[in-house]
């Protein structure tokens, strides 16, 4: 645990060295919500100008060493494209400054992320952008953006099996109590594999309302949280974004924004890809299993004391409970018949 004063001093020294000019850190605000890394918003004075940066510090665990590189590498490769992300500035792998590795990015001005209280037309506007951007991401060539330098390039035929094996492994390794619903879902997924991916795309891995910022004109200004980014079937991101967990009260709305059908249509137009109904069904059940894996990992992290953030307990207890009920709905006799 470090204090915001320690962050202030270390960041001033670090950034001053990097930019070769004195840097004053005027304000440090720790941001609540991120389970994987401590996140701080810093307000700086540099050469007479004020600017904001976001500092993300690893927790005291080596488990996410690879993710840090992948996440920063993803930001680095996406930043020059038409997909809005914060400008990545520095990745520091040493523990010399803040006892743990960290990354620094430019802050987005006047960021908003909560869509709950927006007027209907703004939700529509943001929803359309959200699925247009996701389609644009799916359309990109990962090799042209050199994603193969930082990630494994899977085969179109095997990506679903590989993803399933990975997340099944996470559940088996991290479950504190047996997970009969997730295990039944895994057996169904293994027995009903989808057709090969139409193409291998950049998969954000956590593309949902809450993981992008927008401004007061309802313009999306940044897609965040690329730590689960990988290459695979683009339907995975679409399915994740449609998961009922992100829909709030209205299950017909994708991420509380626009109807599912409209979201899928915009995605298809922007990506130039089709959306096979059976394949999407498979990926929708898969992402719920993946989510259970993430939530029970949070619970394990909380129980073992590797992370003491209350958000880990919330994810581990409440989200596992809700996600299991989502899986049960998928396997209700009416849906499966």
């Amino acid at each position: 645990m470090i204090t915001t004063d320690q962050v202030k001093i270390a960041a001033a020294e670090y950034l001053g060295g990097k930019w070769d000019t004195p840097v004053t850190v005027c304000d440090v605000e720790k941001i609540f919500g991120g389970a994987s890394r401590e996140t701080y918003k810093l307000t700086l004075e540099v050469d007479g100008e004020t600017r904001g940066v976001i500092l993300r510090r690893d927790p005291p665990s080596s488990l996410i060493d690879t993710e840090r590189h992948l996440e920063y590498g993803a930001y680095d490769r996406i930043y020059p494209t038409d997909i809005p992300v914060p400008e990545p500035l520095f990745l520091e792998n040493s523990t010399d400054f803040l006892e743990q590795p960290f990354s620094i990015m430019a802050a987005i001005e006047n960021p908003m992320s909560d869509v709950a209280l927006l007027p209907e037309e703004q939700k529509q506007k943001i929803g359309k952008q959200k699925y247009n951007l996701l389609g644009c991401l799916a359309a990109k060539d990962p090799l042209a953006l050199k994603f193969d330098e930082i990630m494994i390039v899977p085969d179109v035929a095997s990506t679903a099996t590989e993803q399933l094996a990975y997340w099944q492994g996470v559940i088996n390794d991290d479950e504190i109590h047996p997970q009969p619903i997730a295990q039944a879902a895994i057996r169904w997924l293994a027995a009903n594999l989808p057709p090969p991916a139409e193409k291998i795309s950049i998969v954000h891995g956590d593309y949902r309302t809450g993981n992008f910022l927008f401004n007061d004109q309802a313009q999306i200004t940044a897609i965040l949280d690329w730590e689960m980014c990988h290459l695979g079937d683009p339907l995975e991101d679409l399915a994740w974004s449609l998961d009922p967990l992100w829909s709030g009260e209205d299950l017909e709305l994708a991420g509380r924004l626009i109807p599912h059908g409209q979201a899928i249509q915009i995605w298809c137009e922007a990506s130039g890809l089709s959306c096979n109904e059976q394949a999407l069904k498979w990926w929708r059940i898969f992402v719920s299993v993946k989510a259970v894996a993430i939530w029970i990992s949070s619970s394990e992290n909380f129980e073992k004391g590797e992370g003491k953030d209350s958000i880990l307990a919330m994810a581990g207890w409440v989200m596992t409970d809700r996600q299991n009920r989502i899986l049960l709905d998928y396997f209700s006799p009416e849906v499966m018949s």
Binding site: K30, P178, P180, I181, Q183, S310, D321, P333
Partner: protein
């Protein structure tokens, strides 16, 4: 003994949220504290009902095991017939987990052998189990 433990936890949560949090200056601490308050309420519910919920699960799983007896190993039957060593939460959890592992295995066998009635009774149990353990204290 602590009287009405679940109620005591709820009162402490309420005190945390209404008396202590408003004095905090940092938005991070305020958010963290509010979430902790809600989680304490969830723990209060679990303190009040958790053991009974697990015992209800155990009783229902045992009925399923009777229906699927032909698919169980002798080791499974030993575990199923074992008595609870105590009503301490840890012991009830251990027994519940052991039976749930057998249920997972039985479910797979019911699918493989296409025993639809058993398969559906397990799904029905999972729905009741899920409803019974639903966490309502956190919105």
């Amino acid at each position: 003994m602590i009287p009405h433990t679940d109620g005591a936890l709820r009162m402490l949560s309420q005190r945390l949220m209404t008396q202590l949090l408003p004095d905090l200056k940092s938005l991070y601490s305020l958010s963290d504290g509010a979430l902790i308050g809600l989680l304490i309420n969830a723990i209060a519910d679990e303190t009040a009902e958790g053991i009974q919920r697990r015992l209800d699960d155990i009783a229902e799983m045992k009925l399923i095991f009777i229906a699927g007896e032909a698919l169980l190993s002798s080791r499974d039957k030993e575990v199923i017939s074992a008595e609870l060593s105590s009503y301490r939460l840890a012991d009830v959890n251990d027994h519940h987990d052991a039976l749930t592992r057998i249920l997972v295995s039985l479910h797979q066998k019911a699918e493989d052998k296409e025993i639809e009635a058993l398969n559906q009774s397990i799904w029905a149990y999972l729905r009741r189990h899920s409803q019974r353990h639903k966490i309502t204290a956190v919105p």
